[in-house]
């Protein structure tokens, strides 16, 4: 069953089991209403999240990816989120050079007790993805643009976004 | 003592306006009283500052804006400096004065008149004309005895100029006031 066309966009979350997944649970227990777009993949630690998972998700057509782990210093595994922070920040800056809007990916820290923070993160991020709209698909680049690429005529116009 | 009906008498818009204009979150206040404890003006207040904060939290607009306290705060910043929750209480007091002015309230009229006289002087000359300000204040309040005793002490010192220090760009300053008035009325 696809996302509800016109209503939802495809947003994938990678959450560490100990903090953020628990935070999302806490939000649920508190009945903190959230948009329904997000689908959560549970991983043990934000350090388990290979940036390639995110790149693959976005290249394969997701409209947004949200990663959340324990707050720095609160990692269940002591250090995993510190490595994650570096890798995810590098990825965030890398995405635009591939032609992916950096606003489609964000990472943050939510503890197991921060249900309200989780509600806010999900709401804000979902709104952000909806503002960006459905992601342009790599396999659906227009013939016109491809022709320009072949002619080496890209990058002549305005609308530049710094990488 | 009146009973406050917490549901009916709560003015949420007022709370929201205070928070927006002051940039402070008033629900951070947990009523420890440190502001009142340190405030040098508590003895002169009709409502201590911690209770002003409480009444703002409770949305009691009329009580707060008609209080004398908000006109007696000298912005000495002791409340702001010592608040354990880092609320800029002095700024909240400032904002309450702004709101009271807009509502046409001034529970200590002579303070408002003094400040207005001061600003009139700045608007007219670009700088404050101290003697002119005092005379203007006395004329407006009718308090002719104000500081009469100080005259003999200060005039011989040659410090109080009898005419204002007009600056060349006084129209610039006047225009600040004019634009301000235009912006506030628009």
């Amino acid at each position: 069953m696809p996302v509800l066309t016109g209503k939802e966009l495809r947003i994938v979350g990678f959450l560490c089991n100990w903090c953020s997944y628990g935070g999302a649970d806490t939000a649920g227990v508190g009945r903190f209403g959230q948009p329904t777009d997000l689908r959560i993949i549970r991983v043990p630690c934000s350090g388990r999240i290979d940036p390639l998972f995110i790149a693959k998700t976005l290249i394969n057509g997701a409209d947004g990816v949200l990663v959340s782990g324990c707050h720095p210093r609160d990692c269940h595994y002591a250090e995993g989120n510190f490595y994650a922070r570096r890798r995810l920040e590098v990825l965030k800056r890398f995405l635009p050079i591939l032609g992916i809007d950096p606003g489609r990916f964000d990472y943050t820290w939510v503890s197991a007790s921060e249900g309200q923070r989780w509600q806010k993160v999900v709401t804000v991020f979902t709104e952000q993805i909806h503002a960006l709209g459905p992601a342009p698909r790599f396999d659906a680049v227009s013939a016109d643009m491809l022709a320009k690429a072949a002619a080496g005529a890209l990058g002549q116009g305005g609308n530049r976004v710094a990488a | 003592m009146q009973t406050i009906n917490l549901t009916r008498d709560y003015d949420g818009d007022f709370v929201h306006r205070v928070e927006e204009e002051s940039g402070q979150n008033v629900s951070l206040c947990y009523q420890c009283g440190n502001c009142t404890a340190g405030c040098p003006y508590t003895f002169a207040y009709d409502i201590p500052v911690s209770q002003i904060m409480r009444l703002v939290q409770a949305g009691q607009k009329k009580t707060v804006l008609s209080s004398k306290s908000i006109w007696l705060c000298a912005t000495c910043e002791s409340c702001t400096t010592r608040c354990p929750n880092q609320i800029d209480v002095a700024c909240v007091m400032d904002v309450l004065r702004h709101m009271a002015r807009r509502e046409g309230l001034a529970a200590v009229p002579q303070v408002k008149t003094f400040w207005d006289s001061f600003l009139d002087s700045v608007k007219a000359h670009g700088r404050v004309f101290e003697l002119g300000l005092t005379v203007n204040y006395v004329m407006r309040t009718g308090r002719f005895w104000t500081d009469l005793d100080l005259g003999p002490k200060i005039f011989p010192k040659g410090k109080l100029s009898l005419k204002p220090h007009e600056i060349a760009g006084k129209e610039h300053v006047a225009r600040i006031f004019e634009r301000f008035e235009r912006e506030s009325n628009s």
Binding site: L4, G47, R48, T57, N60 | T36, A37, G38
Partner: protein, 652 residues
Amino acid sequence: MRIGVFICHCGSNIEGTVDTATVAKASLDFPEVVYATDTMYACSEPGQDGIIQAIKDKNLTGVVVASCTPRMHEPTFRRAVERAGLNRYMFEMANIREHVSWIGKDREANTNKSVDLVRIAIEKLRRDAPLSPSKFSINKRVMVIGGGVAGIQAALDCADGGLQVVLVERESSIGGKMAKLDKTFPTVDCSSCILGPKMVDVAQHENITLHAYSEVDAIGGYVGNFQVQVKKKATYVDWTLCTGCGACMEKCPSKKNPDRFNEKIGPCTSINIPFPQAIPKKAVIDPTTCRQFVKGKCGVCAKVCPTGAIKYDMADEIVTEDVGAIVAATGYDLFDISKVTEYGGGRYPDVITGLQYERLLSASGPTGGHIKRPSDGKEPKNVVFIQCVGSRDKSLDRPYCSGFCCMYTAKQAILTKDHIPDSQSYVFYMDIRSPGKMYDEFTRRAMEEYGARYIRGRVAMVYPKDGKMIVRGADTLAGTQVEVEADLVVLAAGAEAAVGAPKLAEKLRISYDKYGFFMESHPKLKPVETNTAGVYLAGSCQGPKDIPQSVGQGSAAAAKVLALFSKDMLESDPQISRVDIKRCVGCGKCIITCPFKAIKEVEFRGQKKAEVIETVCQGCGLCTSTCPQGAIQLSHFTDNQILAEVNALCQS
């Protein structure tokens, strides 16, 4: 694979906003699913029986339950599928309650989202492999770090349980903060009278080895087999010879040093035994003040020592202790009151901490138990107590409640009246926190029987005038500003993490919060466990605690250690990383990054390879995302499993 899918109604919790029958029906279209149904309460006994029956009837080899969060019932369902003969890891959950039904009202969207979540659970399950734990032996010795009351209790309980205990204490005597207290609330019994015997028990227990004046230097190994290097700091006194007779202290010419045991309100000698009941009762030289060290000549103590125990050339020594479990009980330290400049702590001698006041109250303290104020030695009549100094204060980055100050302040107000009958105590408080047994009654007694005057409000400033300390505060209940002309001001300084706690946490590989308190494994259900197997917590190192709570935790930690050691072999969690030795190129990136040092380099047919130490690996998977060739895979969260989930979401 033959997969069965069970969609739980959770009464109306899920069914209210998710059409579970539709989800079950949709599940049948997914690969390898042979059975799908909705069920009223999957976790109930009939619910579990239904799953077990279906496994048997339909020959299922894997199960997906869509219900609440796996953080709640994953263990329950794993046991259920195990009862039906499946490996417990051939099971996955889809969280359609906390993550779906409880956070959205749109039934269509929720149903649709539930199908997606079931689908990714199925895709992950299809790549699950049966896992089984392995066993390893354990060293049944335990180390307790910290000899305060929590550590003492943990050590004694473990030792009484027949375990060999190594107790490491930073100071020259055990006893911790409790040894400095005069009386204890709410019973007002003498602190050293109840702690003293326990300290003696530690000294005399045949199962306890005590390393006083020592610190943990390094920790290696894992649950069951830790190696701890303990630094025994140089005392410059041979403790095997020292009898604690105190002759050296009598003759030491350097007498005016701030006494740390007396919280620096009294002097002590450079060679010192901190207090008469010290365990061990041995002398230590402070080389920063000792004339022999500072000026190079003196030697008085060496001359007078009847056993020749003084050794000026002593050096630090490292000893290694092998233990199977560690209890951290390193306690707390006090908030530095000089940070609250408006109270003048550190500037005005008559503004002191509650712990300093304990020393003034104590018969073994510098004033012999007579309350004399530090500035002029006079007996104070008006004593002001200010609570929450460095507690519940965001501006000082101490937003938390220190928990026990309300009670000890009430106790000190009572003791003040006992010591000086014509005195008057004033207590400035914000809220009285007294939820223990007989606690609130105790604070009421302070007011009702002892006449302590409680004023609800903070104090803005304290300043000296004409020999008095003027305390200006607020009485928020009366809505006024108030002033007290005090003779002595006692600040209830908040508790904060012990100096060096984060460093120790890093050695123990446990987490700590932003204030430096150690993190327990679960705030409610695992209060003395940590996320590192075999490391437990007791007392205030985890957060501020009073004596009964600390003692309770000491015993709790001991119970955990005894339970751990009740088996001869330990089972390791099989959700750990495994190396595909063919793919590994031996670059060691996983070894560098592993937070637990759980990966080592080995030689395999002349080539370097990585190898996971099963018992040390905690299953975070950092190595898996670090290894470029995918040679090290975290079981149950492999690349292929997560990729399958990603693909399922992107394709649909």
